[in-house]
């Protein structure tokens, strides 16, 4: 799969997790692509942690509003029925359990549902931004990412980078498959037919539990 196909595969599968009426926060990058693949009969509301709900698509070129950006500093729009608020209210929504789901990328994620996505000590320290609150507060935490970092597993028995939150991840979606975080470990519930169980296990440091109902990775 080429890079674009990989990302689309992941975004399409994550989109299927959305239920009608959900309030959702999508992280910068790949997670943002999820919005493009929401089924037509499903209406979700997107939250932008810099201060609004009703996040809409990018404006047409030349129609950018200098006073309206998303959390990635991109010019965006607000849909009818949306509302603006301050950062305090934004994180009351996030921390208070009002988000049905949050979708983020990861540097590492492990079989206990631990997530690391905000720093590599001594190398790269972007900061956690809103990620710690999002992962702590959202009802469902979905990690959407490429399965490995150029071959190096990112899905581990135990994260060794500083955590974003402990034990909060519910679901991991990669181009290879879908893994659910359970008390017993990571349950592989869907597998992309381009890969074998052996291949996905090889690309994964944690031991995968193979679901008895293992099915082909869905895209619609």
């Amino acid at each position: 799969m080429d890079k674009i196909k990989v990302k689309e595969t992941i975004a399409k599968r994550v989109a299927l997790e959305m239920k009608d009426g959900d309030l959702v926060n999508l992280g910068i990058g790949l997670p943002t692509m999820v919005a493009n693949f929401i089924p037509e009969n499903i209406h979700i509301t997107l939250q932008s942690e810099n201060g609004f709900v009703g996040l809409g698509p990018a404006p047409a070129q030349g129609k950018e509003d200098k006073d309206l950006i998303n959390a990635g500093a991109q010019h965006v729009t607000i849909l009818p029925g949306g509302a603006f608020f301050d950062s305090l209210t934004s994180f009351a929504i996030i921390r208070g359990g009002h988000l049905d789901a949050t979708v983020l990328g990861a540097l590492q994620v492990d079989e206990k549902g631990n997530l690391a996505n905000w720093m590599i000590p001594g190398k790269m320290v972007p900061g956690m931004g809103g990620a710690m609150d999002l992962v702590t507060g959202a009802k469902k935490v979905i990690v959407a990412m490429v399965h490995t970092a150029k071959g190096t597993p990112k899905i581990l028995k135990e994260c060794n980078l500083p955590l974003t939150a402990a034990g909060k991840v519910d679901l991991i979606v990669t181009e290879m498959g879908v893994m659910k975080v359970t008390d017993k470990g990571l349950l592989l519930t869907e597998l992309n037919s381009e890969f074998s169980v052996e291949e996905i296990q090889k690309a994964t440091d944690a031991k995968l539990i193979i679901s008895e109902d293992l099915r082909e990775m869905r895209s619609n």
Partner: protein
């Protein structure tokens, strides 16, 4: 007594070593003119409290690039590579806080609270050196208030008493920071007469604002 002052009068209020809160989110809703004045004056050893350090050529980023900041309390520095460079070189102290926690800390500072209990950061390095408190069987981190000598905020429309309206995503930290500093200066894109902002839609209260400076930037 008008609250409107010139850039020159504003310059005199900023001194070496001050702690300054600056509103904005990645440069959106940030008082660019006030920042430019501080860059020009060249005061040193500032402690900045802000959501992020914006970009090398925009917002708070300019203060970092000009090496006027000794410490920054923020949630994100990833968009400004100079912040990361100064951090790694040991030239700048960076205290990272989750964005929601940072907002609560600023509000606590302005609202007379001794702190708030949040689940965010539990089980991470954010909990280091912090009190953990159990409420109803659940563990929380005690996060303490932040206050500043000065808060610099940006308003879309500001009346002569300092009541401010912040449009769209420019609101972010501005109203909170206005409540949590000894001296509050709002940079106004537009200054209007008292009464021209509907009392229902005032977002930053004029009672918090000491001075108004007319913005010279646009976007």
């Amino acid at each position: 007594m008008s609250k409107i002052i010139s850039k020159e009068e504003f310059t005199d209020k900023i001194k070496d070593g001050m702690t300054i809160m600056i509103g904005g989110f990645l440069g959106n809703g940030t008082p660019e003119t006030l920042i430019d004045v501080i860059v020009e004056k060249g005061v040193k050893d500032l402690t900045i409290i802000a959501n992020d350090t914006a970009f090398v050529e925009k917002g708070i980023g300019k203060l970092i690039v000009n090496k006027q900041v000794k410490k920054v309390i923020t949630s994100h520095i990833g968009t400004n590579k100079e912040t990361g460079r100064q951090l790694n070189a040991g030239e700048l102290e960076v205290v990272l806080a989750p964005q929601g926690t940072l907002a609560e800390q600023v509000r606590a500072g302005g609202a007379g609270l001794g702190g708030i209990l949040t689940p965010t950061g539990l089980g991470t390095i954010v909990e280091e050196n912090k009190q953990k408190i159990v409420v109803d069987g659940k563990e929380y981190l005690l996060e303490t208030p932040l206050r500043a000598d000065v808060a610099l905020i940006a308003g879309t429309k500001v009346d002569k008493l300092g009541n401010a309206f912040h449009t769209k995503s420019t609101r972010n930290f501005n109203p909170l920071m206005a409540s949590a500093a000894d001296l509050v200066v709002v940079e106004a894109e537009e200054i209007v007469e008292v009464g021209e902002i509907d009392p229902d839609v005032v977002m930053t209260l004029g009672i918090f604002v000491d001075f108004i400076v007319r913005s010279e930037t646009n976007g």
